[in-house]
């Protein structure tokens, strides 16, 4: 069951490279959060009602509702529709994303042989999720897309920690989620300010006033 979910997750990653519409990225984040919820539910060892509620809060409420809500509001306020002039052409970004996924599968095969007691497919996919987030940041110019890329990286580290660290104390996991939420909130506020201060059509390229 987890394998199927992981494959769907990797398809969601691939679809990140297909579009340049910003709200599609955010919708993609919601799908990722839902998949993460089910993966966490199936992998978690202790299955009482408390842990289920906690996982629900961690994945669905924070990653699936609050973060997309902040991002959607930001997109609406700043009237961002699509990614302007991506750094890489469309076909190239699809190609690179597929390469990243293939790399993830190679890691999965390799770890299956060499590391014991590990869900190797999950390990590989999580590594390629982190790389996909980094790629999104490098290849796109809008600041909001960078925040989405950061969120994808966080999903990747979440998946990675799920496959390796057993029995993470819930208080600590909650701390991680709250940190991420606050980070996204702050980034949203800053993007609003940047929009009014800078002419934020060029995205990251307008932020060059500080240099030596």
């Amino acid at each position: 069951m987890i394998e199927v979910l992981l494959i769907i997750f990797s398809i969601a990653l691939l679809s990140l490279s297909l579009t340049t519409m910003v709200d599609t990225y955010v919708r993609n984040l919601i799908y990722q959060a839902i998949i993460l919820f089910f993966i966490t539910l199936f992998t978690h060892e202790a299955k009482n009602i408390g842990t289920v509620i906690f996982i629900l809060v961690e994945t669905i409420i924070i990653k699936g509702i609050l973060v997309p809500y902040i991002l959607f509001r930001n997109i609406k306020e700043n009237e961002i529709v699509r990614e302007v002039q991506p750094n890489t052409p469309q076909y190239l970004s699809i190609l690179i994303m597929s390469m990243i996924l293939i790399f993830g599968f190679v890691i999965a095969f390799w770890s299956n042989k060499h590391i014991k007691g590990l869900n190797s497919l999950q390990f590989g996919i999580s590594i390629s999720t982190i790389l996909a987030g980094l790629f999104l940041i490098l290849a796109r110019k809008q600041l909001i897309t960078h925040v989405i890329g950061y969120m994808v990286i966080e999903n990747g580290t979440f998946l990675l920690s799920l496959s390796v660290i057993k029995n993470l104390p819930s208080l600590v996991a909650l701390g991680i989620s709250l940190d991420i939420l606050m980070g996204i909130l702050l980034a949203g506020i800053l993007i609003n300010h940047i929009k009014t201060t800078f002419d934020e059509k060029e995205g990251i390229d307008s932020l060059t006033s500080l240099k030596d």
Binding site: V164, G175, D179, D212
Partner: protein
């Protein structure tokens, strides 16, 4: 004890958000800084009384929270530095009473307290993931502090700081996961991991350390991931630059030290080589940028990168060099904070951060010029200052171990940096005003800001005198304490 401290600080932070009058908020902030100084003093005293038999001490006696927070030699060392710096920088934020609107000063003072709490969280964290959570929290709280001038530049600096550091810290989380994979243990607490270090998988340990070095190194300002540092330091209010440079960089370095501590000897060697490499790159990068810097706050920021580079070189070499780098940590924190506070005073009076436009400080503000000269002497490592002894010990180590190449590289880069620093700082202090003839205006300004400036410069002067006195007389108990830090590594 510690939970009371956290509760008091959070309540105070909320009260400060609600209050109106700037003077009252300033008084509360100073009282809080005094309170935390006393608190750290009491806590370290009780630590030394309780730990004759073990080298750590659980702060709380609760079953659940003891898993997350503890005290050991490292936390004592770093918390004392942080708490002294916080005390001085909250006193020196007196100029914000005049310059800031009430709403902004509320945010400023309340987040200063929260920033201190998150710094203490990193320092006292007993668990690798708890440490990660608090390092991310320091990024969040301090990014609000950096965006206080509400200018275009400060906005850009804040964005870069928040984003680059968040990515770096996310990368370091991957490193933590790899380290957990190597140990294959359910708990990630340092006490639990230490006995397991010889059966851990060396490949994953090395890979994990690399990720952590890059991640926490971003936060510590090690090149080549230092891009946020000059921007954030130059655009933040000067008290915040002082805190960032003196407290935050050290604290991020503590994360790297903690991970180095739990590595077995066969992995430690290669990991220390990576640290050495990053330190050398930091020295190199800062020497290049300092020699062409036109902005005095950026110059000081690059000097922080240089010092962190030197500290990590010392940490990676071990032995006396490591002892030297702990001394340098103390001296750099105190000196750089005082230099940043003085630079804030200069910025308030001259209204610019361009080095060429600031002339003849000796005539307008002799006390500030005197403090600046002392700070320069201390950062350059002149005799009797603490930094002199620490650099001397580093060179002694390099010579006695016959690492000639490393010695030549470090001395050459340090000379370049010294040249750049002295050129800029002497220009500020002595040069006659050429293009920028606003001396009458500056005189009026100095007169108007008299008390505020005097308080700020006095607090900076206090820090410099502290480094001077420590260089003059370093207590033997402290020396033994630092030697204990080195040998426990």
């Amino acid at each position: 004890m510690f939970e009371i401290f956290i509760i008091i600080s959070i309540i105070l932070a909320i009260i400060l958000l609600l209050l109106r009058n700037n003077t009252i908020k300033y008084i509360i902030l100073v009282l809080f800084s005094l309170f935390q100084l006393v608190f750290i003093f009491l806590m370290s005293r009780s630590y030394f009384e309780h730990t004759q038999f073990s080298n750590f001490y659980l702060i709380l006696d609760s079953k659940y929270l003891d898993k997350f927070i503890f005290l050991d030699d490292f936390s004592i060392f770093f918390s004392i530095i942080t708490s002294v710096l916080f005390f001085v920088s909250s006193i020196s934020s007196i100029n914000k009473i005049i310059f800031m609107r009430e709403k902004n000063f509320s945010l400023f003072s309340s987040f200063m307290i929260l920033f201190l709490v998150s710094l203490f969280g990193v320092i006292f964290a007993q668990n690798l993931i708890v440490l990660w959570v608090f390092i991310e929290a320091t990024t969040l709280t301090s990014s609000i502090l950096i965006y206080q001038d509400k200018t275009k530049h400060s906005l850009e600096a804040t964005w870069k700081y928040l984003f680059i550091c968040s990515i770096g810290i996310a990368i370091s989380f991957v490193g933590i996961v790899f380290i957990s994979l190597a140990f294959n243990s359910s708990s990630l607490s340092f006490i639990d991991l230490l006995p397991l270090k010889d059966i851990a998988n060396p490949f994953w340990l090395e890979l994990g350390f690399c990720f952590i070095l890059i991640g926490f190194g971003t936060k510590a300002g090690l090149a080549p991931t230092h891009a946020w540092l000059p921007d954030a330091h130059s655009e933040a209010p000067s008290q915040i630059s002082a805190l960032l440079s003196g407290a935050l960089l050290n604290t991020a370095l503590l994360g790297i030290i903690r991970v180095l501590n739990i590595l077995p000897d066969n992995v430690k060697g290669i990991c220390k080589t990576y640290l050495l490499l990053m330190g050398l790159i930091s020295l190199f990068v800062s020497s290049i940028y300092m020699s062409r810097s036109v902005n005095y706050k950026r110059l000081l920021a690059y000097s922080s990168i240089e010092n962190i580079g030197l500290i990590s070189i010392g940490l990676s070499l071990g032995g006396i060099a490591e002892y030297a780098s702990y001394l340098l940590m103390i001296s750099h924190s105190l000196t750089k904070s005082s230099l940043f506070i003085v630079s804030g005073v200069i910025k308030d009076v001259y209204h610019t951060t361009i080095t060429k436009k600031v002339n003849n400080l000796l005539k307008f503000m002799p006390f500030a010029a005197f403090t600046l000269i002392l700070g320069f002497l201390s950062i350059a490592g002149f005799p009797i200052f603490l930094s002199f002894f620490s650099e001397l010990k580093l060179f002694y180590f390099l010579i006695s171990n016959k690492k000639w190449l490393l010695l030549i590289i470090i001395v050459f880069l340090l000379l370049v940096i010294l040249f750049a620093l002295s050129k800029n700082i002497f220009n500020i202090i002595f040069a006659k005003e050429n293009e920028y003839k606003a001396s009458e205006l500056i005189k009026v300004k100095v007169k108007k800001l008299n008390i505020v400036n005097d308080v700020q410069i006095a607090s900076a002067f206090f820090l410099i005198v502290l480094t001077f006195l420590l260089g003059f007389y370093f207590p033997i108990e402290w020396k033994n304490f630092i030697i204990k830090l080195v040998s426990s590594m």
